[in-house]
């Protein structure tokens, strides 16, 4: 083709190898595109500008130049590309590899396989005008790429925007510098361009196309981009790295394709990473349904909730088992207060040997128990604690118990919020009585609290916590209080006595210390 030869001569010497095909394109596109020739020697930025400016311009021309270009040019293109492919696959890709990502190498290596695609594509292109437009753009891009940049990434081409990919390539190229790299990257980039073009145009994922498709993601619907230019310019403005996600004009599939393509850069790892993350997200969602109060969207807080719930459940099992242990030791006594709506009445109220006066019946039991405990406390804290434990009851600060009882909105005579200042003294309890005439024991019958049964989401858990009234275990106690405080923070904070998380824990600790001492003594004695 004489014009091509002429143009070849005109092309800057720095791009000898790439010239023939691009020359053809130039020729095909006609006069308007010749400006590329002129600017061929200039920096890549100029090319970029040229291309961008020429895009609309080329659009105008496609009526003229398409048809001549299609068949003859296409064939030439094929041939040229074939040559190029052979040349450039063996060419100096090292520099481009350094500058560009591995993707390009893939593309380059796949370029050979993509050649047949190009052939087919060109055939297809001959049939549609849109393809012609793309061809033009591609050639324009290619030319600019020729004169253009070094580190141009052959970005994935979305189905709807080959040109966007081209423009992305252009953008990349414009960003890079250095003339020396121009040759190889441009060659490889051009190759990539052609490959990408081929891949994007190819609808059916054929065997050869598979290699390209991997990189270019081309499950195209078959619809060729109609507004390539707009997309191209838009993407051209964008950045390459972001372009993958922002795939101008691309629908969700191209975006996913782009991402997967990027992932392919470090092939197995990132894909496996993504899979793993998806699986974890699935599991978290499933856990959200299991765990109550799981309206947290944050992963960290969700994990916290899960952890707390598991701890809570384990403590429940522990306390229930303790309850069972205590209850089964002595025969169950119908110790339930009459006003209590059922409930377990203090865990079956297993009376131990110490409980002498516990006559079954009505609400007397509790008062009796209280008196008993008060008496015991005067003598020996440990015994008192054991007595309580045998009854399945616990000692609790008045403020806390009252707060909880008010929270549960149920005034139960059974619940005596005793001001335990047990740390004070065995003899002191009687002196610590509050306004309620009941003794200072805080005898919480968990079940009675449970029976309040409101629909409040927080309450069931508070009630559940009140259920376990065995405080042999320090952890249990502390955790119980912690949880209670956590569950009813608002109510507790509003309590009159300024109940705080620190205090009850210390109180319980002191109780526990006394108890431990006593228990140890007892064991030794035994």
């Amino acid at each position: 083709m004489q014009p091509t030869s002429r143009e070849m001569q005109g092309m800057p010497p720095s791009m000898p190898s790439m010239q023939p095909p691009q020359q053809q394109q130039q020729q095909i596109q006609g006069a308007g595109l010749q400006q590329f020739d002129d600017t061929g020697a200039s920096s890549h930025d100029d090319f970029f500008d040229q291309v961008l400016s020429s895009l609309p311009w080329a659009d105008l021309n496609h009526g003229n130049a398409k048809s001549p270009w299609d068949l003859p040019g296409g064939q030439k293109l094929e041939q040229a590309m074939g040559e190029e492919g052979l040349r450039y696959t063996a060419g100096p890709y090292d520099e481009s590899a350094l500058l560009a990502s591995r993707l390009r190498q893939h593309q380059i290596s796949a370029g050979a396989g993509g050649k047949p695609m190009v052939l087919q594509i060109n055939h297809q292109a001959a049939q549609q005008q849109q393809q012609q437009q793309q061809h033009m753009l591609l050639s324009a891009m290619g030319r600019s790429a020729v004169g253009g940049d070094s580190g141009l990434l052959p970005l994935p081409l979305s189905p709807g925007s080959v040109d966007s990919a081209d423009s992305r390539l252009l953008v990349d190229r414009s960003r890079n510098d250095a003339d020396p790299p121009f040759k190889s990257p441009t060659s490889s980039g051009g190759d990539g361009l052609y490959n990408g073009f081929a891949g994007s145009l190819q609808e059916a994922a054929q065997a050869a196309a598979a290699a390209n498709a991997q990189h270019f993601h081309i499950p195209q619907g078959g619809a060729l981009p109609t507004q390539n230019f707009g997309a191209a310019t838009a993407v051209g403005m964008g950045q390459t790295a972001a372009a993958s996600g922002a795939a101008g004009g691309g629908a969700a599939p191209p975006r996913q394709r782009v991402r997967a393509r990027r992932g392919q850069a470090t092939d197995p790892h990132s894909i496996a990473e993504r899979l793993r993350r998806e699986r974890i997200a699935e599991r978290m969602k499933a856990l959200q349904e299991l765990v109550p109060n799981a309206n947290k969207t944050d992963k960290a807080s969700m994990l916290d909730e899960i952890i707390d719930y598991v701890k809570f459940l384990q403590l429940q099992v522990l306390s229930m088992s303790r309850l069972g242990g205590a209850a089964a030791v002595a025969p169950l006594v119908a110790d339930v207060p009459s006003e209590a709506s059922g409930g377990r009445g203090g865990g079956g109220a297993g009376n131990q040997a110490a409980a002498t006066a516990a006559a079954p019946g009505g609400g007397d039991n509790l008062t009796l128990a209280e008196h008993q405990v008060a008496k015991l406390m005067e003598e020996d804290m440990g015994a008192a604690m054991q007595y309580l434990q045998g009854k399945g009851l616990c000692l609790m600060p008045i403020s806390l118990a009252s707060a909880i009882s008010t929270a549960t909105c149920h005034s139960r005579p059974g619940i005596h919020a005793g001001g335990g200042n047990p740390a004070a003294m065995p003899h002191a309890p009687a002196a610590n009585g509050d306004a309620p005439t009941s003794p200072n024991m805080s005898v919480l019958t968990g079940q009675s609290a449970m029976a309040n049964g409101d629909g409040d989401a927080a309450r069931p858990s508070a009630k559940d916590l009140l259920m376990w009234h065995n405080f042999n275990d320090d952890v249990t106690k502390l955790f119980l209080l912690e949880l209670l405080v956590k569950l009813c923070p608002a109510r507790l904070s509003s309590s009159r006595t300024g109940f705080g998380p620190g205090r009850p824990v210390s109180r319980i600790r002191t109780i526990k210390e006394n108890k431990e001492k006593n228990r140890c003594q007892r064991h030794h004695n035994l």
Binding site: A286, L303, I306, A326
Partner: protein
């Protein structure tokens, strides 16, 4: 299934401890172990945590070896995944969860979450069962 195991264990505990005077704590511990055993049995061998619980309870060498070998194999495969998992993702929380879920030390985050889910399910069922028992006993 759960109830069956648990009630049987309870009966056994009652029978064994009735004649001799038993400390409450010891008995409670037995009940607790029975509870965990029953939920592990209910979960079956499909779950890693149930296997771990059963192995820790029974203390049979064969069981332990089997479990260990299984864990070794899986941890060998995922050894790479375990540590980066621990370090990367919500570090302290994941470690906490590992401690809570039986057998969770040598699990990836993914399997850990799955096991935690089934563990929570079984624990909830067990607690409900115990509640029902206590209710019926006290009435």
């Amino acid at each position: 299934m759960l109830a069956l195991h648990f009630l049987r264990a309870l009966v056994r505990i009652n029978q064994t401890s009735d004649p001799s005077r038993c400390i409450v704590a010891q008995r409670s511990r037995r009940i607790k172990l029975a509870a965990y055993a029953s939920i592990a049995l209910a979960a079956g061998r499909r779950r890693a945590w149930s296997r771990a619980v059963l192995c820790s309870l029974h203390g049979r060498r064969a069981c332990r070896v089997r479990a260990l070998s299984r864990r070794r194999v899986s941890s060998g495969k995922k050894a790479k995944g375990v540590h980066p998992t621990e370090q990367r993702e919500g570090g302290g929380q994941v470690g906490e969860l590992r401690r809570l879920v039986p057998g969770g030390r040598s699990m990836e985050l993914c399997t850990l979450l799955e096991e935690a889910g089934s563990y929570i399910q079984c624990l909830t069922a067990q607690v409900q069962l115990m509640n029902m028992i206590a209710d019926s006993m006290s009435k």
